[in-house]
Amino acid sequence: MARTITMREAINEALSQEMGRDERVIVMGEDNAGGAGSPGDADAWGGVLGVTKGLYHRYPGRVLDTPISESAFIGAAIGAATSGMRPVAELMFIDFMGVCFDQIFNQAAKFRYMFGGKAVTPATIRTMYGGGFRAAAQHSQSLYPIFTHIPGLKVVTPSTPYDAKGLLVTAIRDDDPVIFCEHKALYDITGDVPEDLYTIPLGEAEVVREGGDVTIVTLGRMVHTVLEAAEQLASAGVAADVIDLRTTSPLDEDTILESVEGTGRVVVVDEATPRCGIAADIASLVASKAFGSLQAPVELVTAPHTPVPFSDVLEDLYVPDAQRVVNAAKAVTSWSR
C-alpha cells in the first residue's frame, strides 16, 4: 500500500526495511545516531537533517556514530564491504568528499578491476548535495559529475520519494560501490511510496513527461524545476519530453537518444557547474550519437562556473530556474539555420 510520505521518510524507510531484511546492512556516519557518549539521547540527532532517525534503537549495534574522520570511516565502510557486509556510510555533505575521495575513487572504485575481477565491494555512500539552504560555497555543491567521471562507481540522483526508496534499496543490494546523492532541498517534498520493499534498476531513466517538440534532460532537484518549465512551455505551445536520468552512472543512453530522435531538439538542465559536468556529458552524447536527428544547437542550462554564493539573492540567481529552462527550450524549438 502506498502512502504519501516525504523523501526523508522514504530514505529512512528504505534503510530500515533493508536492515530488517538483511543483517549485513549497517549504517554509519557522523551523528547518524547522534549522541554517542553524550549524557542525553543516544540517537538525539539521527543524522544532521534527521534522515537516519530511529534506526539506532531499532537495530542495536548496527547504526554507528563516527568521529569526524571521513577517510577512516568511509574507508571502513569500503573495507567492511569487501568482507561480507553491506554498509551504508553517510558523507554528510558531498562537499566533504575532498577529505576522503581517495578511499572512494582509488580504493572502492578500482578494487574489482585491479584485482582482476576478484573483489566485490557493495558499499553505498549516501551524501547530501545542492543549493537552496544559503549554506554557501562549501555546503551547497552538486559534485556528482566528479563521481560520474570515475569508472567503477555508480551514481544515483533521485528526484522523488518513490524513486529515492526504490533506488536506495537497489543501491544497497548492488554489488558495486554506489554514490547515492540526496538533494537537501528535496527531503521535505512528499509523494506516494509503497510500504513494501521494491527496487528500481540503476541505469534506467524515466520519461516523466511526454511532449515531442523538445527533449529536456535533467536530474535530481532540477526535475521539478523542469516540470514547472514544461507546464509553462505547454501553455506557450511547446510540448516537452522531460527525462529524469535517475542515475548518471550507468547512463541510460537509449532513452535519451530515442527521445531526441523524435524531437531533434535538446536542452540539458543541471544544477552542477558546467565544465566537464553532466550537462556537457549529455550534450556530447547527443552530438556524437544523435547528430543525424539534431535540428538545433544543444542548449545547456546549468549553474555558472563559480562557487555557490551565500546571499539568497545570489543563490537564487545561481541555481537554474524555470524561466531559464523555458527560454532555452524556446530558443532550440525556434532555431533554424
Partner: protein, 321 residues
C-alpha cells in the same frame, strides 16, 4: 602574567563583544531573518580572546565553522561581520561568504572554514611564510575536539614540527562535535596527549579562565617566535548554544546552565580584575554599554544594507580569467 590595564580592558571588550554579538545573532536568527547555518561561540570567549591577546599584526589565525569569536578577537569589524551574516553587500565578504566564511586577510584572519580540519594545513603555510620572510610572525590554528580526529589536523601537527614552524594548535574542546561527545570520539584522555606523538609540548587549560588561556598561549607564542616550534594547547569549556542554531540539544543535560552560572569567563574575568584592583567595575560597565551600542548598530546597519546584485554573482572567481 603582568598585563597592562589597557590590555585587560581590551580583552574584556573582545569577550563582551563576542558574547553580545552571539546572543544577538541567536535572537535574530529565531526571527528567520538570518539565512544559512550559524554556529555560535558564546561560552568560549576566553579562548579567542586569551590567545589573540598575545598576537599582533604579524600574526595570523585560521578558524572553523564556529568562527565569529576568532574574527572579533583578531580585529575583524563586527559591523561588517553582522552584515555578512545577513548576506549584505556591505558584509565582510560582500555577502558571498556568510557566517561560515568570514575572513579578513589584512587582519591576519585567514577565514572561518566550513570544512572540519580545513584550517591547520593553511596555518602551516602561513607560519612557513612568516619563517621564510623572517617577520617573527606566528600562526594559530583554532579547531574543535571533533576536528582533532580529522587526519588533516593530525598530519599538520607533524608537519609543523618537522618544518620547525612558528605555529600554534589550539584545540577548543567544548565537549561535543555536533551531538557526539568528545569523551567518546577522542580516543585518548586529553587531546593534548597527542602533542608528544607530533614532537611538541601539549597543555590543557581551563577554557573559562581567560588568564589561564592567555598564559599558556603566551608561552607558546614566545617559543614559536623564538624558533622553538609549535605547541598544542587544549582549551576545555562548554558551548552555550546548540551546535548550530536550531539544534534541540537533546543529547545533553543541564551543563550549560551550570557553566553560565558558575564558570562563565566574563563573570570570572570581572571578579578577578576588580578584586585584584586591576580594573574598576565602572570601566567594565562602560565597555558593556559601548559594546551593546556597537552590536545594536551592527544589526541595524546590516538590516538596512543593500543586498548584492546580479553582477556580483560572476565576479571574484578569479583574479583574471
Amino acid at each position: 602574567m603582568s598585563a597592562t590595564p589597557e590590555r585587560l580592558l581590551e580583552s574584556y571588550r573582545i569577550m563582551r563583544t563576542i558574547r553580545d554579538f552571539e546572543e544577538r545573532v541567536h535572537k535574530e536568527f529565531a526571527t528567520g531573518e538570518i539565512p544559512g547555518f550559524v554556529h555560535l561561540y558564546a561560552g568560549e570567549e576566553a579562548s579567542a580572546a586569551g590567545v589573540c591577546a598575545n598576537l599582533d599584526d604579524r600574526d595570523a589565525i585560521a578558524s572553523t565553522h564556529r568562527g565569529h569569536g576568532h574574527c572579533i578577537a583578531k580585529g575583524v569589524d563586527p559591523v561588517a561581520m553582522m552584515a555578512e551574516i545577513y548576506g549584505r553587500a556591505t558584509g565582510a565578504c560582500r555577502g558571498k561568504g556568510g557566517s561560515m566564511h568570514i575572513a579578513d586577510l589584512d587582519k591576519g584572519m585567514l577565514g572561518a572554514n566550513g570544512i572540519v580540519g580545513g584550517g591547520p594545513p593553511l596555518v602551516c603555510g602561513r607560519a612557513l611564510g612568516s619563517k621564510l620572510q623572517g617577520t617573527g610572525g606566528v600562526a594559530v590554528a583554532f579547531f574543535g575536539d571533533g576536528a582533532s580526529n580529522q587526519g588533516t589536523t593530525l598530519e599538520s601537527m607533524n608537519l609543523a614540527t618537522v618544518w620547525e614552524l612558528p605555529a600554534i594548535f589550539v584545540a577548543e574542546n567544548n565537549g561535543y562535535a555536533e551531538a557526539t561527545s568528545s569523551t567518546w570520539s577522542v580516543a585518548c584522555d586529553d587531546i593534548a596527549d597527542r602533542a608528544g606523538g607530533f614532537g611538541m609540548p601539549g597543555v590543557v587549560v581551563d577554557g573559562f579562565d581567560y588568564f589561564a588561556v592567555h598564559e599558556a598561549a603566551g608561552e607558546a607564542v614566545a617559543r614559536a617566535r623564538d624558533g622553538g616550534g609549535p605547541t598544542l594547547i587544549e582549551v576545555k569549556f562548554t558551548r552555550y548554544f546548540g551546535h548550530f542554531e536550531g539544534d534541540q540539544q537533546t543529547y545533553r543535560g543541564g551543563e550549560v546552565n551550570e557553566a553560565r552560572e558558575n564558570l562563565d569567563c566574563l563573570k570570572r574575568f570581572r571578579e578577578r580584575v576588580t578584586s585584584a584592583g586591576e580594573l574598576r567595575g565602572e570601566q567594565l560597565d562602560a565597555v558593556d554599554r559601548e559594546v551593546a551600542d556597537l552590536v545594536e548598530r551592527a544589526v541595524q546597519e546590516a538590516k538596512a544594507a543593500p543586498t548584492p546584485t546580479a553582477d556580483d554573482l560572476l565576479t571574484d572567481v578569479y583574479v583574471s580569467y
